[in-house]
Symmetry: C2
Subunit: 119 residues, 2 copies
DNA sequence: TAAACATATGAATATATGTTCATATGTTTA
DNA sequence: TAAACATATGAACATATATTCATATGTTTA
């Protein structure tokens, strides 16, 4: 009863054809979630700093921590997130792990994002 | 004392020249935060859906809510966030507010992001 | 092989964020 | 002008997330 009233009320102003047409051309839900995850990963200052640094050259965890002035543990945690999104990779050299960019889309994404930021 | 020890210990493995060189070419902190805010805004499925819908055509709040199956209140809150980032704008027509994209960078950002998602 | 080292990882905590619910605002219509 | 309507907004709440701290892992060196 109440549900029905709500539904009627909620739908009173909807332009149905329009909604259906737009709905038909929307990306699938998995695509949306995957894309959101990617952007969410880029949406943190610490991770952005890491990526900007790695855009220049490969660096070990220790150097990254010194560079962006965050604890090595925090850096390590964030690198894990970036690895999960296949944005960075690493190679081992003795005791050190050297991280580098694993995806050139980051460069174009940053360029586009910066254009937006600069309005 | 202890601080000094920590500092020495923490810096023992740092490749100083490298760090300084990279640091010199990093974007400013305001730029990083602004860019992070932009990506963070794009990092939510609800907001992504709204933007994908608005990429097709302008729509009123009511239609957007029906389209992405979220309450009108939630839509309104998220549109506010998008407005704050100057990603959408609106015009009033009688009782309705019609929202539309306010920035074409969104299209290129989505295109790049999707390329990454598709590996 | 034990100690030192570089890094990873899990748990804990504090903060940020998204949705809901209740209410306010601005516009049209009766 | 009062009622209906479309939307906005603030507070509350539950969940997600970033950092810290303690500890574990894998590598080198003494």
């Amino acid at each position: 009863m109440i549900d029905e009233m709500n539904e009627i009320c909620a739908e009173c102003c909807i332009h149905e054809e329009k909604v259906k047409a737009v709905q038909a051309d929307m990306p699938g839900i998995e695509t949306i979630f995957a894309l959101a995850d990617t952007f969410k990963t880029l949406g943190d200052p610490t991770r952005l700093k890491l990526l900007f640094a790695l855009m220049q050259q490969e660096l070990c965890v220790c150097d990254l921590a010194a560079l962006i002035e965050v604890s090595e543990s925090a850096v390590s945690h964030q690198l894990r997130v970036l690895r999960g999104q296949k944005l960075v990779r690493f190679r081992r050299d003795g005791k050190n792990l050297y991280y580098s960019l694993d995806d050139d889309h980051v460069r174009t994404l940053f360029a586009q994002g910066l254009e937006h930021v600069r309005e």
